[in-house]
Every structure is written in structure tokens, then in C-alpha cells.
């Protein structure tokens, strides 16, 4: 029987596919894509068994979490045991990675067809999925960090997949380096935690913290540094700038990065280490909340003016990630993970549906699109469902999860957060409504493109439809009845929680309020951008300074570019110049020159000519004589 102790096989499957594809990919039929997809699907199936085992254990009420592991390093006080830890938090995350991941893999077979590096694509995607599963299952910070970096590296490979294109290569580098800025903090945070506790094992560190092993300021600093890693990975302000650029990668990559791997890793990591945040000074969670809120406002407003379809979705992801962080800041692991779970489905849906549009039209700015609902009805419906789920309309998945976050913020008594979240709800509906209106309704802006548009092949439409289903039904996991029917022993609140399970109660205030707000926003979006979009043009003129501010993304990219050019590279130039001119040419060659000069001067004395020596002896004698005479006097 396959049980939880076999959880380590989950990442091993796609990893094995990666190795096989790298070694023998070119000899396999179809460059081995079926192997990669098969391995991913096998992971999903295996996960279902593991989950069944988990629910079985839950039913007997004996479940704590399952370890498996091996010694990696052992010397002196430095003892590292690497292992996997499977619990309910990991289960939620793995559900997203394996199920959504499999659908994305299948879709890729259609989307990437004919690419010259088709096999390499599936190899890299497999490694990506394997790294993410390892990250989820890691029972200690060192393995977590290793997988974390591996995820970053895979995203580098895949964002830069079409590396002949300069923007793609730039975006890949930007993603890696920006997230690595956060990772510097993450690594130092890990070192801080290890230094006092003497272990990297998460459960042991939690125990150590709960026993008061860390002083509060020390622990606060450490968790804030951990959070720095999450800020980079999960594209939170001020390190969010890499995510929109990452749209240069192929669309399935965007779907995988946004829904299942990479960006949600930061949220997962904070959720995983939440016991430490709880022990630390409240200021730590306040920082999480405030950065989350800043991110929400920033991304939701920028999304209103972006004209690239994929980038709008990217900003919507940043918006969602901000919401998850706010939930975590309010201490609600349940709300954050619930949102993460349903977000995986509807965000993958949005990207893959957008991918269908790109595939059919070869265009990705709204200026060339429009009226596509008539040409691509299935995709239009699917994208619409995804957009409504993102906007949070009843009864789509986003509605339930978003309301959980609203409740969490209210119960945390954070008035600012509550206010900002309500604004965010309105903005999300507004920009998602705008995007749908511009792409699928109205008159085509480019007739030629429109006429050639068509629905994609079944292999691309199928996964989109399944995800559509997911974007509708996953939200019902909030209900205990649904969870019990699935054997989870209750709704999501009974399944993933930090301190005590909580039962879902319909928050009527939030539900009705947010529904009205979303409907109003969607109506506004239709009014502004629908038809010929005259109102949008007028608004743009009327509010030009605001429009420019948003269009330039609050000038943050420019600021960072300035810092890189004027501070880092200029610093490098100064050092390089100093090294050559001052240290080497002046210091080293200069002293060598001085020595040579000294040698040359001395050589003048030794001419080898007798008269010169005679003269020198005579002069010397005369001088000595003179000195003697003078001193006698």
C-alpha cells in the first residue's frame, strides 16, 4: 500500500524524468515529452494515494506528520539531517503542484509543439516541478533553501527559454538576481535560527522557539530575514519588479510559475514557519501585513493601465500574493492557504486561456485584440470564469477564499487592512473586467488578426476546461460537508490551521458586501472600456498625471535601474579603475619602476672606467679630509 512514508517519491518522479530527458531525450520518441507528462501525472496519482492515507490517519485521529530522511553532513556540532516531512500544510500545496502541474504539462504538448528546444522545455519543467515538491516536503531549512534556489534557477532557465530574444534573457537574469537579493536575507535568517538552536530541522526549531530558546528581538530579526526571502520569491513590494518581466517566458511557464511553483513558495514558506512569527515580536507580522497591503495597492492600480494581456494577469498575481501575505500577517494560515489553493486553479486557467489567445493570434497586447468571443467561444467562457474567480464573484472559487481573508483581517482588528482590502476587491473586479472586455468583446482592433483566430487543438482546450471546472468548484472546500464527503474530515478550516481548527460560517456581511462591490466594479469596467472605450480615453486624459504614474509602474523600475547603473556598476568601475591604475600601475609597477630607477642610478656609478673610480676615490678622500679638518677646528 502506498502511504505517506512514500511522499519522497513525488519529487523523485519528475526528477527522474528530468535526468532521463537530459541523458537520452534525443533518442526518445517525441523527444520524451510523454515521459515528462507521464511522470508528472504519476506524481498526481501517487499524491492521491498519499492523500487517501492521510485522510485515513485523520479518521483515526492519530496524525502528526511523517518523517523520512538521511544524514547528509555530520561533523563536530554541525550535524545536518536532510529529510521530508509530510503534513496537511504540505498536502494542500502538493495538491496544487501535482494536479495543476499535470494539466499545465499536458497543455504544453500543444503549446510548445514545433519548438526547436521542445525536449529541453519538458526537461526543465520537470526539474521545476521536482524542485518545488522538494521545497514543499523539506523538513529542514537547509533542504528548503536548496530547493528554493533550485526553483529560482529553473525559473531562470524557463523565463529565458527563448534566450535568443534579448528581453527574455534580460528578464531571466532580472528574476534570478532580484529574488536572490531576498535570498541573501533568507540565508542569514536561516543561519541566525541555526546558531541558537543548533539544528536546521523545522520542528526542532519550532520547539526550541516555543520553549523560549530565542530572545524576542533575536527571533524577530531572524523571521524578518526569512520574510525577506519570501518578499523576493513571492514578488512582494519592493522586490516585485521581476514578475511582470517574467512574462517573457513561454505561457505554460508563466502558468506554472504563478499557480503552482516559484511565487507561491514564499507564501508557503511563511505559512510553514508561522509558529516562529507567532513567537516573535508582533512587529514581524505587522511588517508582513504592511508589505502585503502595499503590494496589493501597487499591483491592483498598475493592472488598470497595462496593455499586455499576460502582464495584466501577472499584476493580478502580485495582487493575489499580497492578499495571501495580508492573511498571513493576520495570522491566518487557513485563509492564506485556502486562497493559495484556489488561486492555483484560476490563475493557471487565466494563463492557459490567455495562451490560447496568443497561440491563435500571435498577439499579446489588447491593442491588437478584441471581439474574440465570437471566434473562440470556449476560451472566452473559460477566461471569463477565471476572471470572475479572480474578481471574487459568487459562487466562483475566488469568492470564498477572498472572503476568508476579509474575515481574517476583520478579526485581527486591523482597520487599515480591512479598508485596503475592500478597495482591492473593487480594483480587482475593475481590471479583470477591463481585460475581458478589451480582449473578448467589442469590435476587433486588428481585423486581420481577428479573422485568423481560431480555437486551439483539443490538447490545449481540454486542460483549460478542466481548470475552469476547478475554478468553480474548489471554493466549496470551505464547507465542512464538502470536505467530509472527500474524506478530509471537514472543510479547509478543519484541515489546515495553526492553533485550532475552525468551522466555516458564511460571513454574510462580507459575502453580500463584496458581491455588490464586485458587480458594481464589473459594471463600471464595462461602462468604461466596453464598446469603443471612449470613456477610458477621456479618463486617461483627465487624470493624466495619475495615468502616467501607473503607466510607469510608480517609476520603481527606473529607480532600480538607476541604482544598478549609478551605484553598483559605478562602484564596480571605480574599483576596477582603482585596481588597474592605482594599485597596479602606480603601486606595483611604480615600485618596480622605482627599483629600476634606483638600479639605473647605481649603475651610473659603476662605469668600469679607471679614471672615474680614481676621481671618486680622490673626491672621497678630499671630503673625508675636509670633514676631519673641520671637526678638529
Amino acid at each position: 500500500m502506498v502511504g505517506m512514508e512514500h511522499a519522497w517519491v513525488l519529487p523523485a518522479l519528475p526528477f527522474g524524468a528530468f535526468v532521463l530527458l537530459m541523458l537520452a531525450g534525443r533518442y526518445l520518441p517525441r523527444r520524451g515529452d510523454l515521459l515528462a507528462v507521464g511522470a508528472m501525472a504519476a506524481s498526481a496519482v501517487l499524491f492521491s494515494f498519499v492523500l487517501a492515507d492521510l485522510t485515513d490517519a485523520l479518521a483515526h485521529g492519530e496524525f502528526q506528520g511523517v518523517f523520512s530522511g538521511t544524514d547528509w553532513l555530520k561533523f563536530d556540532t554541525f550535524h545536518v539531517r536532510l529529510g521530508f516531512y509530510f503534513d496537511r500544510l504540505a498536502a494542500v500545496m502538493l495538491a496544487v503542484v501535482t494536479y495543476v502541474g499535470t494539466l499545465i504539462f499536458v497543455y504544453s504538448m500543444g503549446y510548445m509543439k514545433g519548438d526547436p528546444r521542445y525536449g529541453w522545455f519538458f526537461a526543465a519543467m520537470s526539474l521545476f516541478a521536482a524542485s518545488m515538491m522538494t521545497l514543499v516536503l523539506a523538513d529542514n531549512l537547509l533542504l528548503l533553501y536548496g530547493a528554493w534556489e533550485a526553483v529560482g534557477f529553473c525559473s531562470y532557465l524557463l523565463i529565458g527559454f527563448w534566450h535568443e530574444r534579448r528581453p527574455a534573457a534580460e528578464a531571466a537574469k532580472k528574476a534570478f538576481i532580484t529574488t536572490r537579493i531576498g535570498d541573501v536575507g533568507f540565508l542569514i535568517g536561516i543561519v541566525l535560527l541555526w546558531r541558537e538552536a543548533g539544528t536546521f530541522n523545522l520542528q526542532e526549531i519550532f520547539r526550541f522557539a516555543q520553549e523560549g530558546g530565542y530572545s524576542t528581538p533575536y527571533l524577530t530579526l531572524a523571521v524578518l530575514l526569512l520574510f525577506a526571502g519570501a518578499v523576493g520569491k513571492s514578488a512582494q513590494f519592493p522586490l516585485h519588479v521581476w514578475l511582470p518581466d517574467a512574462m517573457e517566458g513561454p505561457t505554460p511557464v508563466s502558468a506554472l510559475i504563478h499557480a503552482a511553483t516559484m511565487v507561491v513558495a514564499g507564501v508557503y514558506m511563511v505559512a510553514r514557519t508561522m509558529p516562529l512569527f507567532q513567537e516573535a515580536d508582533p512587529v514581524a507580522l505587522d511588517v508582513v501585513t504592511s508589505l502585503g497591503l502595499t503590494t496589493v495597492v501597487l499591483s491592483a492600480t498598475i493592472a488598470l493601465v497595462v496593455r499586455d494581456v499576460k502582464r495584466v494577469i501577472a499584476y493580478s498575481t502580485i495582487n493575489s500574493l499580497g492578499l495571501m501575505m495580508v492573511a498571513l500577517g493576520a495570522g491566518s494560515v487557513t485563509a492564506a492557504m485556502f486562497y493559495l489553493f484556489v488561486h492555483g486553479f484560476f490563475k493557471a486557467l487565466l494563463f492557459l486561456a490567455a495562451g490560447n489567445v496568443l497561440h491563435a493570434t500571435d498577439r499579446q497586447t489588447v491593442d491588437d485584440l478584441g471581439g474574440l468571443a465570437r471566434k473562440m467561444p470556449l476560451t472566452a467562457v473559460a477566461f471569463g470564469v477565471g476572471a470572475l474567480a479572480m474578481a471574487g464573484l459568487f459562487p466562483f472559487a475566488g469568492f470564498w477564499a477572498k472572503d476568508e481573508i476579509l474575515v481574517a483581517a476583520r478579526e485581527y482588528h486591523n482597520q487599515v487592512a480591512v479598508a485596503v482590502l475592500w478597495v482591492s476587491v473593487a480594483l480587482a473586479a475593475l481590471y479583470m473586467g477591463r481585460l475581458y472586455t478589451l480582449v473578448f468583446t467589442g469590435q476587433p482592433r486588428d481585423r486581420h488578426v481577428w479573422e485568423h483566430a481560431h480555437e486551439g487543438p483539443p490538447i490545449m482546450v481540454g486542460p483549460v476546461l478542466l481548470l475552469t471546472l476547478g475554478a468553480v468548484v474548489t471554493g466549496f472546500l470551505a464547507f465542512d460537508q464538502v470536505g467530509e464527503a472527500l474524506g478530509l474530515g471537514g472543510g479547509i478550516g478543519q484541515f489546515v490551521y495553526l492553533e485550532e481548527p475552525h468551522t466555516f460560517h458564511m460571513p454574510w456581511g462580507e459575502a453580500i458586501g463584496s458581491t455588490l462591490l464586485v458587480v458594481a466594479s464589473l459594471g463600471a469596467a464595462w461602462a468604461i472600456w466596453g464598446g469603443k472605450g471612449e470613456l477610458a480615453v477621456q479618463l486617461g486624459k483627465r487624470l493624466q498625471p495619475l495615468y502616467l504614474l501607473l503607466w510607469n509602474k510608480y517609476y520603481m523600475d527606473d529607480l532600480y535601474q538607476w541604482i544598478v547603473n549609478r551605484i553598483v556598476l559605478a562602484g564596480g568601475a571605480v574599483v576596477a579603475w582603482f585596481d588597474r591604475v592605482v594599485v597596479n600601475d602606480t603601486g606595483v609597477d611604480g615600485s618596480a619602476g622605482l627599483t629600476a630607477l634606483g638600479g639605473w642610478l647605481m649603475r651610473q656609478l659603476q662605469t668600469g672606467k679607471l679614471p672615474n673610480y680614481a676621481l671618486a676615490i680622490a673626491t672621497g678622500a678630499a671630503v673625508i679630509g675636509a670633514v676631519v679638518l673641520v671637526s678638529r677646528m
Binding site: 561533523f75 563536530d76 556540532t77 536548496g146 534579448r166 531571466a172 556598476l569 576596477a576 585596481d579
Partner: protein, 488 residues
């Protein structure tokens, strides 16, 4: 056994030297045979070393010079411990790589391979000497082959670079010799083991801090430590590929080895006082080297400067004076040898195909040189400390070891890793990604077996050490613990 290891390359040299002119082409086979023999012996020692046994094993000891008048004697003594054994393996391994990578070296292959083998002998001698005088002799012997290898088979300003290298090393050696003589005369022996057992030396002909400073200057030039590093970019850049590999891969480690074996081990009290200074120089070396790397336009010079930055971690780990830091430092020597060795090999292979190292002229090579791209990116990732590759293990261990003692400096070290990501990825982007310029369109990638074998071997070892470093770390630890015991 050890003597056989140390002198096998010299035997190879002798054989190459008597080779008739018309068989000149066969010199490389002799060199390959000798270096493979050394690798075999080194690996056998690695396997046979008893990790629970005495510190120094396989000892070969004979009195060499002694007189009734002088209060000391000089011995021929070889032996290895956990610190030196991995470095012997590294030396033997990289020499094989160096021989293969110079398979089609230009003029006068006979002399070339003869000098390369002399170089190997001297390096193996340095790491296995148990007598300070012998150590010094081997330390100096290395100059001779290096001078000829750079000045005859080099490129660019090779004569200048070769002289610069020799002068710098001589300058350092002068100080080092004073330090060694002061130690030996005071103790009445040059035997490293005897010196270790004597307990700390406080007052000799010279005060202990002065001896320490002299030794540090000598080894600091080799390591190198900013500001004593300027010989390195020139020598690396102008040396032929295989010599750059040896230089970065092994010769720099003589500095790190000396610091661990002599400075810290024999003068622990001074080392404790100087800890912060060592760390400060290490931090400066890391950041200064990384910033300078960022702005290099010559591919080889870029790798050379990155080497300066990475060797800073060796000193940083050493400055922490604890088991973890010292193991990290010695691990860093080993992994840096592999990774930078591979990077230099790759630069050489790219240069052979493009005939330029100017990053501005290169670009879009990924389409034309897929295999070289994969290997270069692999080496780059190892260099920027990607977990699961060797560089991460050593650098992370250095941070962990340094943090408790010098927090700010450890943070500087972590920042160095960030800069490493920047300069490596920027380099990769400018050289390999993007559209290939027209002049590279006709580039053909034919990878000969003597190029493929060493690159694959290096990649395998980098991955193995990164995934499962324990066997190596255990061994280093065995060499480090006696040093740490003297520190406390």
C-alpha cells in the same frame, strides 16, 4: 608511497626530456600516463587513509642535513593528513585535466609537457612536506616551470605577466623564509609535527606577531589577498589555458594551505589576536574582487577576478578559527579548484573557437556552441553558489562558521554571493544569449574527446561533492580538529 607520488611526475619529465625530437608528439602520452598514475596513487591514498588513525599517515622520513655544530637538522619528511590529502587528490586530478586540455598545444610540446610535470611534482611536494625547509623548497620550485610556461606558451603581455608573477612570489617568499627560519631556529627543528607538539611559540628571534605577519604576507600573495593580488589577473589572463587551470585550481591553494598549516596551526595565539584583521581583509577581498569582476570585459580576466573574490572565502572561514569555519575554508579551496578550473577550461575552449575573449564581441554563442554553453552555465551556477553544486557547500559552511565570530563580515560574504550571481549571469547573457552576430554564424562546434572527457569529469565531481560532501568533509575535519585543539 608518497615519495613515489611526488616524484612520478619528475620521472615523466625525465622520460619526456630524453625523447627524440621526431617522437615529440608522443610527449603528451607520457604526460598523460604520468599524471594518470599520480591520480591513481592519490586516489589509492584517499581510500587507504585511516580516518580514525594517527594524524599524519604514509610518512616517509629521512634525515637530510644535520651537523653537530648547528642546533637543528633538516629532514626529508613527507606525510599526509586530512587537510593535505584532498589537496593532493585535487592536484593530481587537475593535472590530468591540464594535460588533456593541452592535447594540441602549439609549439614545442616536449618542453611544455616536461614543465607541466615538474609543476605537478612541486605542488604535490608542497602539500605533502612535513619539514619546513622541504616545504619551502617545493614552494619555490614551482616558480621555475610557471615562469617558462607563461612566458613561452602564453598570450598577450606574457613576458611581463610571467616576470610579475615571479617577482611577487619571490617578494612573498623572502618574508616567508624569514618567518620559517625564525620558527625553526627557535624550536631547533623544522619538523612540522614536532613544532605542532611544542605548544605555542611566544618569543623567538623575532616576536611571534612578526613571524605571523611575515608568513601571512608570503601566503597572502599566493592566496591572494587584496591588495597583494595584482599579479593574479595578469598571470591568469596571459597564461595558456592549462596553466590557468593549474594556477587557479591548485597554486592559489598553496597560500590557503600555508595559512592553515603554518600561521594558524603553529602560531594559534597570534592568530586569535589577528582574527578580526584576517576577517576584515577577507571581507575586503570578497567585495573588492566581486566589484572588479563586474566590470571586466575580457572573459578570462573576469574569471580571474572572480577567483580573487572566491579565495576571500578561504581567508574568511580561516579567520573564524573554529571547526566549522576552518572546514569551510579548506572545502572552499577544494571546490574553488574544481569550479574555477572548469571555468578556465571553458574560457579556453571558447577562445579556441572564436579567437577572441572580448565579451563585447561575443554574443549569441548558445546557438552555435550548445555543449560549451551547457558546461559554461553549469560552471557558472556552481560558481555563484547554487545548492546541490559544490560551491554552495563550502560557501555555506564558511558563512555558518564565520557568523558566530564576525557577524558583519559573514554578511559581507553573503553579499559577495549576490554579486557573484550578477557577474556570472551577466557574463552568460552577454556571451551566450541573444542573437549570434554574423561572424559567429559559421562557427562549428566539434568537441574532441580530450575536451569532452575533462569537462564531463569536472562536472561529475562538482555535482557529487555538491550532493554528498560528507566523505570529503569528514576527511578535512580530521585534519582541522588538531588545529582547532591548539587554538583552544
Amino acid at each position: 608511497m608518497l615519495s613515489l607520488l611526488v616524484f612520478l611526475p619528475l620521472a615523466g619529465t625525465a622520460l619526456v626530456a630524453v625523447l627524440p625530437r621526431r617522437w615529440e608528439g608522443r610527449a603528451r602520452w607520457i604526460a598523460l600516463g604520468a599524471s594518470l598514475g599520480c591520480l591513481g596513487i592519490a586516489l589509492a591514498l584517499f581510500a587507504a587513509y585511516d580516518r580514525g588513525g594517527p594524524q599524519f599517515q604514509f610518512v616517509d622520513r629521512h634525515v637530510w642535513l644535520s651537523s653537530d655544530v648547528a642546533p637543528f637538522s633538516v629532514q626529508y619528511a613527507l606525510g599526509v593528513d586530512g587537510l593535505s590529502l584532498p589537496l593532493l587528490v585535487l592536484t593530481a586530478f587537475l593535472t590530468v585535466v591540464a594535460v588533456l586540455i593541452s592535447w594540441e598545444i602549439g609549439p614545442r610540446p616536449k618542453e611544455y609537457f616536461a614543465w607541466l610535470l615538474v609543476l605537478e611534482s612541486s605542488l604535490l611536494g608542497v602539500f605533502s612536506s612535513l619539514d619546513l625547509v622541504l616545504f619551502f623548497l617545493f614552494f619555490e620550485l614551482e616558480l621555475l616551470p610557471m615562469y617558462f610556461l607563461i612566458s613561452i606558451w602564453g598570450t598577450g603581455r606574457r613576458i611581463y605577466s610571467a616576470w610579475k608573477y615571479v617577482f611577487f612570489t619571490f617578494f612573498g617568499s623572502a618574508f616567508m623564509l624569514v618567518g620559517i627560519l625564525a620558527l625553526g631556529l627557535e624550536a631547533g627543528t623544522f619538523d612540522i609535527r614536532a613544532l605542532q607538539e611544542m605548544g605555542p611559540i611566544r618569543q623567538a628571534v623575532l616576536p611571534a606577531p612578526a613571524i605571523f605577519a611575515f608568513l601571512i604576507i608570503g601566503f597572502g600573495i599566493k592566496l591572494p589577498v587584496v591588495p597583494l593580488h595584482t599579479w593574479l589577473p595578469d598571470a591568469h589572463t596571459d597564461a595558456p589555458t592549462a596553466v590557468s587551470v593549474m594556477l587557479a585550481g591548485v597554486l592559489l591553494k598553496m597560500g590557503g594551505y600555508g595559512i592553515l598549516r603554518l600561521c594558524i596551526s603553529l602560531l594559534p595565539e597570534v592568530a586569535r589576536d589577528a582574527s578580526l584583521w584576517l576577517g576584515a581583509f577577507a571581507g575586503a577581498t570578497i567585495l573588492y574582487g566581486a566589484l572588479a569582476t563586474l566590470m571586466q570585459r575580457d572573459l578570462k580576466r573576469l574569471i580571474a577576478y572572480s577567483s580573487v573574490s572566491h579565495m576571500g572565502y578561504v581567508l574568511l572561514g580561516a579567520s573564524a578559527l573554529g571547526t566549522v569555519g576552518l572546514v569551510g575554508a579548506s572545502m572552499q579551496m577544494f571546490t574553488h579548484g574544481l569550479i574555477t578550473g572548469l571555468l578556465f577550461v571553458m574560457v579556453g575552449l571558447v577562445y579556441e573557437r572564436t579567437h577572441t575573449r572580448d565579451i563585447g564581441e561575443l554574443g549569441g554563442l548558445a546557438a552555435r556552441l550548445p555543449y560549451l554553453t551547457v558546461v559554461m552555465v553549469f560552471a557558472g551556477l556552481a560558481s555563484l553558489g547554487l545548492p546541490s553544486l559544490a560551491g554552495f557547500v563550502s560557501e555555506a559552511t564558511v558563512f555558518l562558521g564565520t557568523f558566530p565570530r564576525h557577524q558583519a563580515l559573514a554578511v559581507m560574504g553573503v553579499l559577495g554571493v549576490l554579486l557573484a550571481a550578477a557577474y556570472i549571469l551577466w557574463m552568460v547573457q552577454r556571451v551566450f544569449w541573444g542573437e549570434a552576430a554574423p561572424r559567429w554564424q559559421s562557427l562549428q562546434e566539434k568537441v574532441a574527446w580530450w575536451e569532452r572527457v575533462p569537462t564531463l569529469a569536472l562536472m561529475t565531481v562538482i555535482l557529487l561533492v555538491g550532493v554528498y560532501p560528507s566523505p570529503l568533509m569528514d576527511l578535512f575535519e580530521g585534519g582541522i580538529i588538531p588545529i582547532v585543539e591548539r587554538l583552544t
